[in-house]
């Protein structure tokens, strides 16, 4: 039980990160690769929030009624993740628009078949 308590969030976060990376490395369909990227970003965000968590802490918001002696979780990672989520959606939107244009040009989304450029 303590193992679960100590590591379950890290397992979840890095599980997502590795599944996302795996999709990006192995799959050839461009939309699939972008789905992998989205899963990877979710994993990174979950990891950052898990780093800032403090056991039995409350959300870092003061309200009139709250008892002030309670401990609050670290607000910094939450601020970072808000930024990271927005950056992620910007990258995803741009990637999808590129995918649409690529489909216009080639009629396929298979990265193996799109090899005009030589290395």
């Amino acid at each position: 039980m303590t193992f679960l308590h100590d590591y379950i969030y890290y397992i979840g976060a890095f599980g997502l990160i590795f599944i996302g990376l795996f999709i990006m490395l192995v799959k050839h369909n461009l939309i699939k690769v972008i789905i992998g990227l989205s899963i990877l970003e979710t994993g990174v965000n979950l990891f950052l929030i898990a780093v800032g968590y403090i056991s039995k802490g409350t959300a870092p918001i003061f309200s009139n009624s709250a008892v002030e002696s309670e401990r609050m979780v670290d607000p910094v990672p939450q601020a970072l993740v808000l930024t990271a989520i927005v950056i992620g959606v910007a990258v995803l939107a741009l990637a999808l628009s590129l995918a649409i244009r690529l489909y216009h040009h080639y009629g396929v989304l298979d990265l193996r078949k799109i090899k005009e450029q030589r290395w």
């Binding site: 969030y9 795996f22 490395l25 910094v76 939450q78 959606v89 910007a90 939107a93 244009r101």
Partner: protein, 228 residues
């Protein structure tokens, strides 16, 4: 074969990260910066929501960068998709009556909710980003329900620019009057937990809400336009 190599590569990375994670126990306080924000945040910024005070005041430069990134994505998407736009007009199949009526009913409510979230960012969870996204989702709904209706591109562009300029101008006013620091909180902090408090935070969050909302609406607009 490729997947096996990938798995091996990934397990090497996993091993390395596991070693590093060993020094970062879960649920244990690790930071002095977070404590400082929790102790001093209310006095220094006047916001009850400490995350907001970090996002809009302590780390506001990140936030400026972040709205810029969304701005870039919106422009980039327009540049990528708009280069060869088809001019032809196709018959648009109207949505069913239920969807249409539902959208007409929900659209103003969602906008109102988005505005509420943006304005109360310093008091309750939420803020400009979340509010902006809610506003954009209202427009997404409008595209689904009331097909053929378009938001004018000029309007989106204007709101987008003005939102960004308000952010920068507030920052420059802070540089000029607020003790020579860019984006310093030069207005009075007001009383904690009241709507008109926390100095420049609500102003900036409204600007962010408008900017994020219009940018994401622009993104959806470009994509939908292309797909019809």
């Amino acid at each position: 074969m490729k997947s096996i190599i990938s798995l091996i590569l990934l397990s090497v990375i996993a091993l390395g990260i596991a070693i590093s994670l060993d020094k970062i126990p879960f649920g244990v306080p690790k930071t002095k910066i977070g404590d400082y924000y929790i102790d001093k945040g209310r006095e220094e910024t006047g916001a009850a929501n400490i995350v907001t005070s970090v996002v809009v005041n302590y780390r506001c430069f990140d936030t400026l960068g972040e709205v810029t990134i969304l701005f870039i994505a919106a422009i980039g998407l327009g540049a990528v998709l708009a280069t060869r736009r088809k001019k032809e007009k196709r018959e648009i199949e109207p949505a069913s009556l239920v969807l249409y009526a539902g959208c007409r009913f929900l659209f103003p409510l969602i906008l109102l909710f988005g505005a509420y979230i943006s304005i109360h960012g310093h008091l309750t969870p939420g803020g400009g980003f979340q509010g902006g996204v809610v506003v954009a989702s209202a427009f997404l709904l409008a595209y689904l329900g009331c097909r053929g209706r378009r938001v004018s591109e000029t309007g989106i562009k204007t709101v987008e620019s003005l939102g960004g300029l308000v952010f920068i101008v507030v920052g420059l006013v802070g540089l000029a009057v607020g003790g020579h620091y860019f984006l310093s909180n030069f207005l009075s902090k007001g009383e904690l937990n009241s709507l008109f408090s926390a100095g420049v935070i609500p102003i900036i969050y409204i600007a962010i809400g408008l900017k994020v909302g219009s940018e994401l609406t622009g993104v959806i607009d470009h994509l939908v336009e292309e797909s019809e």
